[in-house]
Symmetry: C2
């Protein structure tokens, strides 16, 4: 039983298997709030953790969520809907990253459900109050669940500029590629932004008013090169293709954390003086602004909502081709 005398249901990863367990309620450390989780999204990173991508992580996985604040030092927060930034910096006076608000690069950071801190695939999660992002009433939970990956998509525009004359190719049609296409398409429009996917069901989800959609064969056989190529396939071959589709002196944005293909050859990067920009998490505020200002409905990207009790089955479903976001309902 937990410190308050209660246990909660949670998915836990023991380094080998994902299990449904009863575990103590999380400790609410000084400055933390306790959030009752409503929805928790399953992300490719969660699959990678279960495959050993983050060696050493054990505990409750999950970092995409929305819920209700149930306990907080600040009484006014209690009862409000919220999500939370997932990177928890060391907040030391000598940490330049934390001082500058870049906790997401603090070398001693913990990351919810990824590194050194239990995540959100549980009935409750404790997070520092400074990480809390309140959700406005206009954004329902089936939109709010996308804020974390949407922030990762918005991060691209924080790292590089996409000018009015520049052409962009997004490689991939999975969950992150869908969000990137919406963010870049909203920014630059369908005359500038082309997306290339290979799964018809996923490609059908791209908003045709924001982006131009091409299939893999057309894209491969066409000799057009783009100013910017965003690699979001999640596949080892994605980087190879990105390098062939970017113009000399162009920019490749790397979003996939998977390994490069075995024969990856960086020589074309040198010969064509390509810039590759690794891109990960972004600020939640930008993502929330995007949701509020565009009014885009992201719920078509949710393939299924399953109760936390069916977490293992939900992970299996999420790994199927043509399945997009699978959400765990942790409120049952």
């Amino acid at each position: 039983m937990g410190t308050d005398g209660y246990d909660m249901k949670a998915l836990t990863f023991n380094g080998a298997d994902l299990l449904l367990n009863e575990i103590p309620l999380p400790d609410r450390r000084p400055g933390d709030v306790l959030i009752q989780v409503h929805y928790a999204g399953i992300c490719n990173t969660d699959h990678e953790i279960l495959r050993g991508y983050m060696p050493g992580f054990t505990g409750v996985p999950g970092h995409e969520f929305v819920g209700w604040i149930r306990e907080a030092d600040n009484d006014r927060l209690v009862g409000s809907r919220a999500t939370a930034e997932i990177n928890i910096g060391c907040e030391s006076d000598s940490c330049a990253w934390c001082i500058s608000g870049m906790q997401r690069h603090c070398p001693n950071r913990a990351v919810l459900g990824i590194q050194g801190r239990d995540g959100v695939m549980a009935q409750y999660v404790a997070v520092p109050e400074r990480n809390v992002v309140p959700i406005p009433d206009s954004i329902p939970d089936n939109q709010a669940i996308f804020i974390e990956p949407l922030a990762a998509a918005c991060e691209i525009l924080e790292q590089i500029s996409v000018g009015k004359e520049q052409t962009v190719l997004v490689l991939g049609d999975g969950k992150l590629a869908q969000l990137i296409a919406r963010v870049l398409g909203t920014h630059a429009g369908r005359d500038q932004v082309v997306v290339c996917g290979k799964h018809s069901a996923k490609k059908a989800l791209f908003p045709r008013d924001l982006v131009t959609v091409v299939d893999l064969e057309t894209c491969t056989s066409d000799s057009t090169r783009f100013d910017i190529v965003v690699e979001a396939t999640g596949s080892p071959s994605g980087l190879d293709m990105a390098v062939t589709k970017v113009r000399p002196r162009g920019c490749v944005v790397l979003k996939s954390t998977c390994a490069a293909s075995a024969g990856f050859n960086p020589a074309p990067l040198v010969v064509n003086e390509i810039t590759c920009v690794g891109s990960r998490c972004g600020r939640f505020a930008e993502a929330l602004d995007f949701l509020v200002s565009t009014g885009l409905d992201l719920s078509p990207l949710i393939s299924a909502i399953r109760p936390l009790d069916q977490g293992r089955e939900a992970f299996a479903l999420s790994a199927q081709p043509d399945v997009m976001k699978v959400v765990l309902d942790c409120s049952g």
Copy 2:
């Protein structure tokens, strides 16, 4: 015999072997000048071509050189000392690269001794007059021979800025790393620029007034991370090391065209949001300015000067550890 009734000595690569041959003098096409080659430098790229790095290249290799203009439409050029930019653009009215002076990225370019055009390891070479770079009297031939690789070193400062507070690590102690260290050390100083090599004889050549020199073991075991890491090892493991030595959101400059190590994993690039900048050729004018303004003596980087007749032996020598620039004297 050549069109003028003369043959010349040249090294030629037939796709398998490097041979010493008598071949016709090069055709001087409209707008070309004919240069009698004095010195031709052996570069790692030449070795890579002989190993099949540029499949399909056959003919006279070599692209680093200095010589005397012997024939030109413009009489005033005849007799002057010169080298030449190695990229020969298509110069089509519809080529945005050529129009903007970026022939080095023209998709239809030829490259002296590398792609579609005979190079300089011969008694004579023909190049377009627009590519000619005259050498001032103050720069002797044993300095001028470095202009092409020095331009590649200067290119880094055209692509990225190195601010007063930024730290730079140069990986490698070979020919290109030596020039990069001198260019960046001159720009930023030894408090900002660290170079890491593993060959004592090569490391001894770094100018200690411009850069701080560390050995590989110290660099590997130290946890310091740099704002900018320049990968110029020419080794597949260089990129892996660069990624471990750059700070989050830092920049890796890629100079080696060799393949990445088999297990190269781009995930740290994404997680730490690293920018990788491929960097190749630069403008010769910057390199010439550098030589003239710094007065740096680069001749200690020349390990040997061998007659063209001993070209094959010179290549073998050049491939030995601890051997730096080997120069062919083509004037004999």
